[in-house]
Symmetry: D2
Subunit: 323 residues, 4 copies
């Protein structure tokens, strides 16, 4: 599909929502492509280092990303005060060309806090709010409760909302039936799904084909498979490190060059596992340093890698031909 | 044991930690008894209702609780802004007799934020900080990382710390080896364990018998069993509703009247399951209303019970002879 | 309670079931006490070694066990052919005094095979059939399906049936509601529950108090806690090694000497974890050898312990004062 | 690749293994294509109905399957006596053209029993042994134990072995490192992986590219995705019902017609979930009847669908255009 340019929608969010009373899909932001969920650079004293952030953004400018995610799980958002979160979004907005989308994480545990932060994110310049599932009372987070939560947030948000399901962190999979209901909301654009259940990904695409609902793969490990099932893009931690190859993989898939895509995908699986499940954000930041980016420390209690872990991580990138 | 009064320790936290260089256990706050983890009363508009809170505190004053927990899981703390949390603790402190302990939840995701909130809680009048395990990056929350986190918090805290493990909410069980290491810290008093693994409870008591480490059962369902294994008290959601019977159960166990204790425990299991796993905080607040307390609504996305759920809940209290 | 001797019931199983039409509990076998779930001795070539089995039985004769379990999980029953299973039961029956109960595992995946094996076990001399939950199609093992399965087995069995729930092996917890329904069946005596959820144990005792349903703790780790909640006995792997102390613990609990019981229980938790979750049957068999029993190899694919594992195991028994 | 015909290898299994001393891949059976894991037809009295089996085989003859699986999970093998299992394989062998492969399930809990049954299966006419992971003692089924188990089985088997990992039934995922080690064994052809972790599927293909190891998707839900990552075929319960469309999907993927493949895959996901996770084998057998096959009852404790369940199942096939 050839969707409108992002600024079309951005100039008239009210108008856009106003269209929702009419049947049929409204014009939506096109999320097709790769989004790195930025890590948050900290100084040696664990303060946010905006200079290093701008340096990384400058380097990312030459990679054909569709946009950036600020304050995703890899951004250590639970370790950031609200004022830090807003300042980060403002900073990225200033540095980012207008043709690149800025998705900002704005999910909190309560509905009211999520709404307030979403509004603030819009004011700080976010194009889209990425709203993680509340999860502390996961036993009570029924499909009905989550539908109600997201509906209130989307109703109140001045910018489009993308659902965000990341069971490895939240212990909660946004139920498929909730996704299908929410897909009909005019201000809900799509979902970032990091669970990796490819059958579910396919079913989400299939069951929302009337809704112009956009499915983003939440990890580089199942990017090709998600595209093969109809996903439109990916939010991939590994894009902080190997942004260009991931954009290349995106291109190969969209051009239907699946055999080349497969070979590239194969070489990305182990590095991706290494900077996510295996070594987490400390591993991701370490790997960024080998590719010319600022990584730096994480905030405690996230601990730096030990020397043997660094060696193992390096070996994984080498064995797959990236170092 | 006949421990010192709480104010002994409170008058000299520095001195207390100073004693830690000497071998043997230091004098510690005695946590023996029942603590209700207070629900947070909200008005119809979901604002904190301090008048209702004071009303509940007034009613609790006649029950021989050892103290109160403010901002435990049942207090909806993830839905409260930091200023609300501090104001709640101040309010409870003003209303609470000095011979009752005030435990305040102060756990955040980052170590630094936890330290800051713990210090603020002490200033607001908390006797003890109850520190939940950070959990969002649970894959990275190794035993070593958690030991480091709690050690830094306990080092910096002006008041004693109680560990808090609640896997149903956090998806994370504080590893036994971490508990055993932390039990040696002079400013760590004990643990509230809500996991319900009675073998683990017994092992924690057994392996910390040199440390004067106090184990609190985190739920009324396994209170008797925990006491039988050597726990000293309980932080029980059900105490918001059935405080007197729980204090009676505490007494029977401490007096060795196990047969009577068993009969009482049996009648508490189903009501406890109903206000925790089955219906959660909305169920707990509803049941409070039947016993003369203010319950009121929860903050969204926690949803009120449906009418059939209310009937089921009521039936459970009736069938066990409480209504 | 002072139940009838086991042979009372055994002489008239038909008559016993005939009583079931009348209200109130029927006379049942008394399962109060400790039962070791026998390991199956194998020779160096992994054949069943009946001579060593008889040797172990001879040594167990001096310990006041209530009876023995043959073909529980610790008996490696899934590795034994049906003819081996029957021969084992016959062999134990010949060696066992009549005042000791012989419980024989007879659970298979299909209802029909379970019935056939149960009948054969009765003919081979078993007093009670211990029937594990079928589990391969666990997604289809609803409460209704399991109630139907056990009802058919109990209807057809010439000997009383004990339910057996062991989620660590089966990945399936026999649902509480199924237990409560089955507790009303006149030929179902009780349950061996190895799950360790003490709240559930208490609830099973409480909700079946009209049925004379007997609850057996399935592991030494939560034996005291189970007794405190009303369980009547235990089937404990550790009884293969430390039979006398476990019978002593049983006695202390039944006499209400809870403080002594607690001290003994504490010293049994780590050895129990070591011969179950940590090192499994190979660890159990190795530890048996240190206490004068024949342990020997397991059948493949269960692998023998490495030397460091043997040392660790030995250290755990030493540290708790058993070696 | 254009592999040898199956009989090439079958004529000289000894010679085939003899080749294994040489570097490089040996000639192997080509598993490319779709295999239905046959359901086992039972009469009203739950006896195996060989006439109905032959009727189904006759109908399947016109569908371009690569071969058949007998005694997979959908064959209710845990409910069949050993003599029934062998008779089933003999019956299918007699009815099956020689150019279709017969894979027979031969996994048991013990290594020795698995070897014996595998040898018997070869004698009964199986081309390949499909060996499920032993699982009852899953806590002890380490990667090393499983490698040892499969190595002994593959060493002793006169026919090639395919590994079989089905965590929904076994509660055990054959560890990737074990798969990679076993892929080097000359008598291990590949794996049927029913877990659905597409990242793992891709990694298995990638890391065994030197070994000519063949990866089969264990379910129709992730068939296209598996092919996109390099799997060569599928063993799909749904092929009992919708064999022709699944062979068409196989063809579209192998021809690189991914867009058409996606549309077809999308329509297969819900029917597949319905006959597997949602309604299991009773649902699969019921759906078979609507497409001209014999379904019939399952053995107890698998229960027949209720009328509302049948309606729901039918609705799922209708909504996706299959009825």
């Amino acid at each position: 599909k050839t969707g409108p340019e992002p600024w079309d929608s951005l100039q008239s969010p009210g108008q856009r929502r106003g269209l929702s009373a009419q049947p049929g899909p409204v014009h939506t932001l096109n999320l097709r492509g790769i989004f790195p969920p930025l890590t948050t650079p900290f100084s040696a004293t664990q303060e946010v280092d905006y200079t290093q952030l701008e340096g990384n953004l400058c380097r990312y400018a030459s990679i054909p990303f569709r946009g950036l995610v600020v304050l995703g799980s890899n951004g250590e958002y639970p370790y950031l005060a609200l004022r830090e979160r807003l300042e980060l979004v403002s900073c990225v907005r200033r540095a980012l060309p207008r043709d690149r989308l800025l998705l900002a994480g704005s999910g909190c545990e309560s509905t009211q806090a999520t709404i307030e932060l979403t509004v603030s994110m819009a004011e700080a310049g976010a194009d889209v709010a990425l709203v993680v599932t509340p999860c502390y009372y996961r036993g009570a987070m029924t499909s009905a409760a989550l539908v109600q939560h997201y509906t209130e947030v989307a109703d109140a948000s001045p910018i489009p909302v993308v659902l965000y399901s990341v069971p490895a962190n939240t212990g909660l999979d946004l139920p498929l039936e909730a996704v299908l209901t929410l897909a009909q909301h005019p201000n809900i654009l799509g979902i970032k799904d990091s669970g990796g259940d490819i059958t579910r990904m396919g079913l989400m695409v299939h069951k929302t084909r009337q809704e112009d609902f956009q499915v983003l793969a939440g990890s580089a490990g199942f990017l090709l498979a998600s595209y093969a099932l109809g996903a439109c893009g990916g939010v991939c931690a590994l894009a902080n490190v190997l942004g260009a190859p991931l954009c290349q993989l995106d291109g190969l898939c969209h051009e239907g060059r699946w055999q080349e895509a497969r070979d590239l995908q194969h070489r990305l699986i182990e590095p991706n596992l290494a900077v996510t499940r295996r070594f987490g954000i400390p591993g991701l930041k370490k790997a960024m340093e080998w590719f010319g980016y600022y990584g730096g420390p994480c905030r405690a209690p996230l601990a730096p890698l030990s020397s043997p872990q660094v060696e193992e991580l390096r070996g994984i990138f080498s064995a797959n031909g990236w170092l």
